[in-house]
Point group: C2
Chain length 767, copies 2
Amino acid sequence: MLQLGTSSLVIVSVIAVVAVVALVLAVVLRRQVLAAGDGTPAMQSIATAIQEGAQAYLNRQFRTLAIFAVVVFALLFLLPGDGGVKLGRSIAFLFGAAFSAAIGYLGMWLATRANLRVAAAATGPNGRQEGARIAFRTGGAVGMSVVGLGLVGAAAVVLVYRGDAPAVLEGFGFGAALLAMFMRVGGGIFTKAADVGADLVGKVEQGIPEDDPRNAATIADNVGDNVGDCAGMAADLFESYAVTLVAALILGKATMGEAGLVFPLIVTAIGALVAVLGVFITKVRGSESGLRAIYRGFYVSALIGAALAAVAAFVYLPSSFADLTGVGEALADHDGDPRLVSAVAVLIGVVLAGVILGITGYFTGTTAKPTRTVAAASRTGAATVVLSGIGVGFESAVWTAGIIAAALCGLFLIAGGSIWLALFLIALAGCGLLTTVGVIVAMDTFGPVSDNAQGIAEMSGEVDEAGAQILTDLDAVGNTTKAITKGIAIATAVLAATALFGSYGDAVSMALAELGAQVTTDGTVAAMLSYEIINPITLVGVILGGATVFLFSGLAIDAVTRAAGAIVFEVRRQFRDHPGIMTGETRPEYGKVVDICTKDSLRELATPGLLAAFAPIAVGFGLGVGPLAGFLGGAIGAGVLMAVFLANSGGAWDNAKKIVEDGHFGGKNSEAHAATVIGDTVGDPFKDTAGPAINPLLKVMNLVSVLIAPAVVMLSVPEDANHTLRIGIALGAALIAFAAIVAAKVRAGKIDITDGIDEKETVSTGS
Amino acid sequence: MLQLGTSSLVIVSVIAVVAVVALVLAVVLRRQVLAAGDGTPAMQSIATAIQEGAQAYLNRQFRTLAIFAVVVFALLFLLPGDGGVKLGRSIAFLFGAAFSAAIGYLGMWLATRANLRVAAAATGPNGRQEGARIAFRTGGAVGMSVVGLGLVGAAAVVLVYRGDAPAVLEGFGFGAALLAMFMRVGGGIFTKAADVGADLVGKVEQGIPEDDPRNAATIADNVGDNVGDCAGMAADLFESYAVTLVAALILGKATMGEAGLVFPLIVTAIGALVAVLGVFITKVRGSESGLRAIYRGFYVSALIGAALAAVAAFVYLPSSFADLTGVGEALADHDGDPRLVSAVAVLIGVVLAGVILGITGYFTGTTAKPTRTVAAASRTGAATVVLSGIGVGFESAVWTAGIIAAALCGLFLIAGGSIWLALFLIALAGCGLLTTVGVIVAMDTFGPVSDNAQGIAEMSGEVDEAGAQILTDLDAVGNTTKAITKGIAIATAVLAATALFGSYGDAVSMALAELGAQVTTDGTVAAMLSYEIINPITLVGVILGGATVFLFSGLAIDAVTRAAGAIVFEVRRQFRDHPGIMTGETRPEYGKVVDICTKDSLRELATPGLLAAFAPIAVGFGLGVGPLAGFLGGAIGAGVLMAVFLANSGGAWDNAKKIVEDGHFGGKNSEAHAATVIGDTVGDPFKDTAGPAINPLLKVMNLVSVLIAPAVVMLSVPEDANHTLRIGIALGAALIAFAAIVAAKVRAGKIDITDGIDEKETVSTGS
C-alpha cells in the first residue's frame, strides 16, 4: 500500500488551507452582496415570495433525495470489497451528496437575495456597473464555494486514506454526481415547466408581457430560475469538479504514484487561486458589454492558471518517470519527461475550455452569423426558425465534439504509446479545464440572477426605463454564459468519463486476477468480457448506451411539456374564476402554481433518475462487463453530441428572439417575433432541462459501472458463477427502470396536456 | 479456394431463374398498370409536366454521378489485393451502381405514369378498390424489380466467382449503397425543398390550398415525390437488399463454407416468391382501410416466408456443423444444429420486421395515442406540437433500437458462444427481414403515387368530392407505410453493418497475418489496432462516428432550408411580376421552379455525399483500424437512433396534421391547424431527407472501411510503415470533406434564406 511522504502531506495540507481560504472568500463575497441596497418594499415583497418558493422546493427535494441517498448508502455495502475501504467509500458518498446539496442550496439562497439587490442597483447611480458587479460577485461567492468544498473534500480524503484514497474518492464523486443529477433534472423541470407554462398562457394566449404580475405563473417562473439554473447548475459544476478530480487522483496514483496523487490537487488549488483573481478583476469598464468584461476575466485567469500550473509541474515533478515514488510498473521505463507531459496536458485542458467558450459564444451569441440566420428565418415563419435552430445545434455539437476528440488525440499522442499515462493525462487536462471553474460558475450564476432581477423590476413596476434596459442587457449576457457553462460541463464529462474507463478496466482486471484459474474459456463468457466494439454483444451495449441518452432526454422534455400543461390549465382557471386578475384588481394565487411546479417536478425527476442509476446495472449484470463498457462508450458519444445540440440550439433560439425584440425583422409583436417565441419555447426544455442533465447522467452511469464491475465479474466469469442471481439482478434493475417509465406514461394519461379532451369535443370525421 | 459442388451450382442456377421470373413479373405488373385508363387531357397535361421534370432531374443526376462512379472505379484499383478479384470487384461496383440507378429510374418512370391512372380510377366506379389496386400494383412492379435485380446480381457473382464471390460482392454492395445514398440525399433535398417552399408561400403566405395550380412550386412538389420518395426509396431498398445479402454471403462462406454461400440465396429467393404472393393477395375488401389490406398482405406473406425458410433450412442443411463442406475451422466442432440455428435466425429477422412495423404504426398512425397527443398539443400552440413530436420521435427511436438490440442479443445467444456464427446468424436474420422487402417496396411506392394522384386531381379540378376523399385516404395510408419502410431499412442497416464488422475484422487479421513478423509492439501502433472501447483513441472513433451522423443530418436539413428559401423567393417573384397568376388568368412558370430544385439538389448532395465517403478514410488512415471500428460502432449507435427519431417524429407530425384536418381541435384553418402545419413543415426534411439517408450512409461508411482496412494496416503497422503517406491520405480525405462543408457554408452565404436582408432593412437597436 502506497504511503505518502512528509513533503506530500505538507503540500496536501497547504492545499487544504487554500481550499479553506476559498471558502472564507465565499463568505466575504456573500457579505458584500448582502450589504448592497435591497430595494423598495414592493420589490422586497416579490423577492420574499420567490425566496419562500425556492426554499420550500429545495427543502422538499432534499427530503425526497435523503431517502434515496440512504438506500444507496446501504446498497454500497452489498458490493464486494475490503470492509474499511467500503465504509470509507460509503461515508464519502454521503459527504459528496451533502456537499452537492449544500452548494445548490447556497447558490439558491444567495441568488434569491442578490436578484433584489441587482434590481435595486440598476435604478441607482452607475446602474450598469453596479448591477453587473453585484450579479458577478454573487456568482463569485458560489464559485468559490464550489472550488473550496471540492478541494477540501478531496484533500481530506487523501490525508485520511492516503493510498486507499482512490476507492474512497469513487464514493465522494458518486454522491456528488447522483445528487447533482437529481437537482439538475428536478430543477430543470421546475424552471422550464413554469417558464413554458407562463409564456403559453401569458404571451401567447393573453398577450401580456413576460413577468407581468397578472400572470399567476410568474412567481413560479422566477423561483424556477433559482432552483434550476442556479441551484441545479451549482451542484452540477461541483459534481464536475469532484468527479474530474477523483478520476485524476485515481489514475494519478496508478501511473505516477505519490506525485500523481498530489499533482492534480496542486493544479486544482492553482485554479482556486486564479478564480479569486478572475472574480475580482471582472469589472465592466465604461460602456463595454458585460460579456466582454466576463470574457476578459476568463481569459486572463485561464492564462495565469495555465502558466502557474506549468511552473508547478516543473518545480514539483522529477524529470524522469523512473524518479517518481511509487510509479506504475508500465511507466517506470517510459522515456518521456513527466514535467513536460503534465504541463502540456494541463495546458490542453485550459485551451479546450477557451476554444469551447469561443465556439459556444459564436453559435449562440447575438452578434455572430448562426443566431442571426435563425433570427432571419423568422421571416418565413416558425418552421424555418425551428429547422435552422436545429441545424445550428447539430453543427455546433459536431464542432464541440470534434474539438474534444482532437484534445483526446493530442493527449494520447503526448503519452507516447502508454494507455495508462494517456488516461492520466486526460484526467489532468480535465483538471486544467477546471482551473477555470470558479470564473465559469460566477459567469453562469450571472444568468438567473439578472433574469430574476428583471422579473422583480417588471413585477414591482418600480424600475425606470433606463434601469429596465440595463437589466435586459444583463439578461442577454446571461443566455450566452449559460450556454458556455454547459459546453464546459459536458467537456469535463467526456474527459472524466474517458479517464474513468481506466479505473473501470482496472477494477475488472483486479477482479479477474482474484478469480485466477477459475476463469472459464467459454465463448459466451469471453464475449461478456470483450471490450471489442466489433463483438456484436459489445456493439449492442453501444446502441443501448446511446438509446439511454435519447430516452433520458425524451423523458425530461416530455416531463416539462406535461408539467407546463398542468400550469396552463391552472393559470387559465385563475383567469376564468377571478376576472379581477386581468384588470389588476385581484392578486393571482401565485402559491398554487409554485405548488404544482414543486409537486410535478419532484414526481417527474424519479423516472429519468432511476433510469440513469439502473440502466448500467441491467446492462452490466445482463450482458457482462464488455457490453457495459460499450454502453458507457455509446452513452459518451451520443451524450456529448446531444448535450451540446440541446444546449446550443436552445441558446440560439433564445438569442434569435432577442435579436428580433431588438427591432430586427419587424421587432416585438410582429409575425417574426411570434415565430421566434415558438423557437424559444421549443428550446426551453432543450437547453435548461434535458441538455444540462446529460453531464451528471454520464458521470452517474460511469461511476455506477466502476462500482459494480467487480460484482459483475464475480457473477459471470467463474465456472460455478451464480448466473441465476446475475440474471435476477439484471431483470430486477431493468424492471425498476421500466416501471419508472411506465409510471411516467400513466401520469401522462392522467395529467398530460390532452387532459380534458375527449371524443365529444372533436367533430365526426366520417371515416 | 472454396469450390462449389454441382448440387450447389444447380440450386444457385434455379435461384437465378427465380430472380428472372421476378423480373418478368415486374414487367407483367407494369403492363397491368399502364393498361388502366389514363384520365382526361387536363390530367394528362399535368402528368406530362411531372414526368418531364422527374426525368430531366434523374438524367442530370445520373450524368453527375457517372463521373463520380468512374472516379471510384479507378480508386478501387489503388487498394491492395489480388488483381483478378480486384477487377471483378470494380466491375461488380459498376453493376451495383447501375442496378441501383436502374431501379430508381424504373420506380420514377412507372410512378409518374401510375399517378395519373390512380387519379382517373378514383373518379370511376369502384374508385376506392380500383385506385388502391393500381397504386399497389405499381409498387409491386418496383418491388419485384428490386428483388429480381438484387438476387440475379448476387447469384451471378456466386456462379462466376464461386469461392472468390465475397470480395467481388463487396464491390457490388458498395456500388449499390453509394448510388442509393446520393439518390436518397439528392431526391430528398429536391422533394422537401419543393414541398416546404410550396407550403411556405402557398399555404402560409397566400392562404391557397396545397397543390393549387396557381402555386408555381406545385409541379416541382409533385416531381419531388417521384424522384425522392419513389426513385430514392427504391434505390435505397435495393441497396439494403444487396448489402445485406452481401454480408450474409461473406460470413456464410467464412463459417458454413459452401452451404453458407448458398443458403442465404435460398432464403432470399423464398422472399421473392412470397413477395409475388403478397402483391397479389393485397386487395382492399369492402370498406376496410387501405392500411389494413396492406398489413394483411405483409403478415401473410411474412409468415409463409418464415415457414418456407425453416423448411428449406431443415431440407438443405445437415444436422451437424462437422458435416458442412468447407466449414470454418472454429465451427467444425460446434455442437449446435445448423438447421435449427439458421431457421431460428431467419425467424428472428421476420419477427423483427413485424415488430418494427407494429412499433412504427403505433407511433405514427392516426389512431394510436402518440400521434393523437401531438395533435392535441396543437391547442397550446406550435411549440408544444414540436416538443411533443420530438418526444414521440425519441421514444420510438429508443423502442426500435431496443428491439433491434434484443434481436442481436438473441442471435448471439443461439450462436452458443461463437462470434463468427453469431455474425453469420445476424446477417441471416437480415435476409429473413428482407423476405418481406417486395411487399415493403410495394407499400412504400403506394405513398408517392397516391400523393401525386391527389395533386393531379386537385390541379386538374376534374375529380369530384368522393374521388378526392378516396385519394386523401390513400395518401394518409402512404404516410404510415413510408415511416414503416424507413424503420425496416434502418434495421437492415444495423444488421448488415454489425455483420460486416466480421469481414472488417477478417480483412484486418489477414493483412496482419501477411505482415507477420513485421508487426511492431510499439504502444501507439498497438492502440491503432485496438478495437477496445476503453482505449481512449478508440473512444475518439466512437465520438467521431456519432458526430458524422449528426453532421450529415444537419447538412441535409440545412440544404433543404436553403433550397426551400430559394424557391420561396422565386414563387414570390412570380406572384409579384405576374398578378394574373393569382386570378387564374396567367399560368405560372412551373418549369423555373423545377429547374431551381434540380440545380440546388444536385449541388447540395455533394457535401453530405463526400462527407460519407471521406470521413472513414480520414479516421482510418489518421487514427488506425481500431478507432475506425470505433467510428463505425459510434455511427451505427447514433445512426439507428437518429434515423428512427427523424423518420417517426416527422411521420407523427404529418399525421397529427391530418387528425386536425379531419376536424378535431378546430379543424382546417383553425389556430390548431396552423400549429400542426408548422410541425409538419419541421418534420418534412426530418422524415424525407435526413432520416432515410442515414441507412445508405451507414452502409457506405461500412463498406468503405472494409475496403480500406488492408491498406490502413499496411501503412500503420510495419516498422518501416510509410507514416507520411498514411497521414497524407488522412489529411487529404479530411481536407476534401472539410472543403465540401466550407463550400456548403459559402453557398449558404450566397443563396440562403437570409438573402436580400441587410442592415438597412433592420431598425436601429440603440445598443
